[in-house]
């Protein structure tokens, strides 16, 4: 885990008569892709805009890359890229002009202009379309251009508000791959979305916002010390399988029958190997032994349910 790149402390944000963010604290480490999830009106966009230095909270502090955003918003903008949920483009420009404008607007020096434009276009796979006019682009390509504009100054942090909205499945897939590539190039991303299944593909942290509060922040990485869910399937009926699994001290049986069992156990590969070895030695015809993919949607719904029950 890297150092905290986005650090929000006790943030209170109000609109006239409405408390939009209620004492929100949040920390996103360098190199993470954090998913900001929650229902409409939960405060996701307000939080993103506050981090981007586009809104003035009532109190609290926001640091991006150790820079106080509220005190030095203009300097912070040089470290942040932001794509709003409803963004606009200059339709009458060509892609090259649009990127040229974005580069100049972000203060990139004249001698680095061309290389910055080419790099941004390359990152977003737009290099063949630089002469094309913006109003000729599809929704997916417009989205890519908007992201290219937002990252042309190579910010450390990229904030994306509902970036996949309105995209077809192919474009969404390409967007997921792009986010992972940007992460690999050293960027830290905060992405808000309603489509949890997609966030699962690339997010490493889930931040749940509900009624202006952060009710949970959990890592989606599985470390060796954490537990994970495994599915064990036998080729032939094995009525004693569930009871046999219950005998292992580190294994918790979630549900099971003579064919198919779901268990929780440490993510440590040696522990899992040991269990498999013992099952096979006991004569169970195990033909499937694999961790279940982590279900973000389930996890989110569980968190919200728990929060509402506690309330």
């Amino acid at each position: 885990m890297g150092r905290a790149l986005i650090e929000v402390k006790n943030l209170v944000f109000e609109y006239p008569g409405t408390l939009a963010l209620d004492n929100v604290s949040l920390s996103i480490a360098e190199g993470e892709i954090a998913a900001l999830v929650g229902p409409n009106g939960a405060g996701k966009t307000t939080l993103m805009r506050a981090i981007a230095g586009l809104g003035t909270p009532i109190s609290g502090s926001i640091q991006v890359d150790r820079l106080d955003v509220l005190r030095y918003p203009r300097q912070a903008h040089q470290r942040i890229g932001y794509l709003a949920d409803f963004f606009g483009l200059y339709d009458e420009l060509t892609l090259r002009q649009a990127l040229h404008y974005a580069a100049l607007a972000h203060g990139i020096d004249a001698e680095k202009l061309t290389s910055s434009i080419e790099l941004a276009a390359q990152r977003l796979q737009l290099e063949d379309r630089l002469a094309q006019q913006v109003n000729e682009l599809s929704r997916g390509l417009s989205q890519r251009l908007a992201i290219a504009q937002a990252i042309i100054h190579q910010p450390n942090v990229l904030l994306l508000d509902e970036p996949a909205a309105g995209l077809d499945p192919q474009a969404r897939k390409a967007l997921s791959e792009l986010f992972l590539a940007l992460r690999d190039q050293g960027m830290t991303l905060l992405v808000s979305s309603h489509i949890l299944a997609e966030l699962e593909e690339y997010c490493s942290v889930m931040v749940v916002v509900e009624q202006g509060r952060i009710i949970d922040q959990q890592s989606l990485h599985t470390t060796q010390s954490q537990r994970e869910t495994l599915r064990i399937v036998c080729a032939t009926p094995s009525p004693t399988l569930p009871s046999a699994l219950e005998h292992y001290p580190e294994v918790e049986l979630i549900r099971g029958d003579q064919h198919d069992c779901l268990v929780q156990l440490p993510a440590d590969p040696s522990v899992q190997h040991q269990l498999l070895q013992q099952l096979l030695s006991q004569g169970f015809s195990v033909h499937h032994f694999a961790p279940m993919p982590r279900n973000m949607q389930e996890s989110y719904l569980q968190t919200v349910k728990q929060y509402q029950e506690e309330k």
């Binding site: 006239p16 408390l19 963004f87 200059y90 100049l104 607007a105």
Partner: protein, 433 residues
């Protein structure tokens, strides 16, 4: 030198080859026809009219819509996130959105000067200064107005550019009678000059103020907060400027000057309470910053109307200390200090009306509602009372028309107290969690 990105973008969009060819072609046709009809004097007048149409009317429309276009196209946030400085953004938008107009103006100015020299037009330099500074002034005001409206309500209206056009027409109507006044002399603080020169220099001065105001307001929109010292500076400048016209009588000069300053500050306070953003949450921000960083740091959340109110109160207190002359207002003699006290009281009442309506969740129409109430209090009700023979009731509604100032004082005090209570109630119900 690095190109202003905002200006460059407008250059790409506005100065296409076709448009670059079209402007001189159309203008040359116009000037050719004018020359055919009335030689160089007709060309000169045509150049003047072309300047007015391009620089003052069309330019105002374009400048007023420059920011509105960004908001409509949802590109404003992207610009706010950029490294463009407030000054770059201000002049980039001001001269970028109107770059095509200024391209035409360059041609018009060349023709204006050439034809002027041919017909021996006097004071060409002063006239050109008046025209150029006037064009920048009204265009800057149009952009400033749209910026203020966006900041005030978070919304925008294209009809605002019509408002800017009306202001421009007022500017033209004010300046036009003096355009040919070469010999009439003007005295300002004893400086004697021609009316044309005076207006040209005044236009230049106010143009400077408009650009500074645009820069500051743009800075606020780009999240750079300032203490409202510039507004205080402008208020003092305006007082100083206007006081320079007074045909001062002997004896009561300084008292009249002080009274004049009081009423100018009063007027500025009314202007500011109407046009400035009245964000109730700024009060909370003010309290928190004051507690955390001290009073001076918290001044960034001090609204300009409050600065004006403090100035009015200060000048009012000074006036109250002066045993001034009787002032003849609407043919009713009122003691000077009572008039000051009543003006202050009713200013506070009127500000309270604005604040009360702005303390709602949906405050978009708050100022318009407050204006309706003020129209009712200052115009419709007095007219109604006059018609039905109850004119004395006007004493309860406004200062200056009364001979019974104690009743007015009491009425104003009660109204302020009631509004204060209503404001407190609304604050508690909407803003206390």
């Amino acid at each position: 030198m690095k190109m202003n990105p905002e200006f460059l973008r407008h250059l790409w969009l506005e100065m296409t080859l076709h448009r670059r060819l079209m402007m001189p072609t159309v203008l040359l046709f116009i000037f050719f026809i004018a020359h055919a009809l009335g030689e160089w004097s007709a060309v000169h007048v045509t150049a003047l009219l072309s300047f007015v149409v391009l620089g003052l009317l069309w330019g105002v429309r374009l400048a007023g819509e420059a920011l509105i276009d960004e908001i409509d196209n949802r590109t404003w946030d992207q610009q706010r996130m950029s490294a463009i400085t407030p000054w770059q953004m201000s002049w980039g938008k001001l001269f970028g959105s109107t770059v095509y107009i200024w391209y035409g103006i360059l041609i018009v100015v060349a023709v204006f000067l050439f034809s002027g020299l041919r017909i021996g037009e006097p004071m060409l330099g002063a006239k050109l200064l008046l025209l150029l500074s006037g064009a920048v002034l009204v265009q800057a005001l149009a952009l400033l107005l749209s910026l203020l409206m966006v900041r005030r309500s978070g919304r925008h209206r294209r009809s605002l550019s019509n408002l800017a056009l009306i202001a421009t027409l007022l500017f033209i109507m004010t300046v036009a009678p003096y355009y040919d006044e070469y010999y009439a002399r003007f005295s300002w603080y004893g400086l004697v000059m021609s009316e044309l020169t005076f207006f040209a220099l005044s236009s230049l001065l106010f143009c400077g103020w408009a650009l500074v105001a645009l820069y500051r307001t743009m800075g606020e929109e780009l999240q750079l907060k300032h203490r409202p010292l510039l507004w205080l500076g402008f208020s003092l400048f305006l007082i100083f400027y206007i006081m320079g016209f007074g045909p001062l009588e002997s004896g009561d000069d300084w008292q009249l000057n002080l009274a004049g300053a009081f009423f100018i500050a009063l007027l500025l306070c009314y202007v500011m309470i109407f046009i400035e953003r009245k964000e109730p949450l700024d009060l909370r921000r003010f309290q928190i910053i004051r507690a955390e960083q001290g009073g001076y740091a918290a001044l960034i959340y001090l609204p300009c109307w409050l600065v004006s109110l403090l100035l009015v109160v200060l000048l009012g207190l000074l006036l109250l200390l002066v045993d001034g002359p009787k002032m003849n207002i609407m043919e009713i003699i009122l003691p000077f200090n009572q008039l000051v006290l009543l003006s202050l009281l009713f200013l506070i009442r009127d500000i309270a009306i604005f604040i009360y309506f702005n303390l709602t969740k949906q405050a978009q129409r708050a100022d318009a509602t407050a204006l309706v109430y003020l129209t009712l209090l200052y115009l419709l009700l007095p007219m109604l009372f006059g018609v039905i023979g109850l004119g004395s009731l006007n004493n309860l509604l406004m200062p200056a028309t009364t001979t019974s100032s104690l009743v007015t004082l009491f009425s104003g005090g009660v109204q302020c107290a009631v509004l204060g209570w209503l404001i407190y109630q609304r604050w508690v119900s909407h803003y206390r969690y």
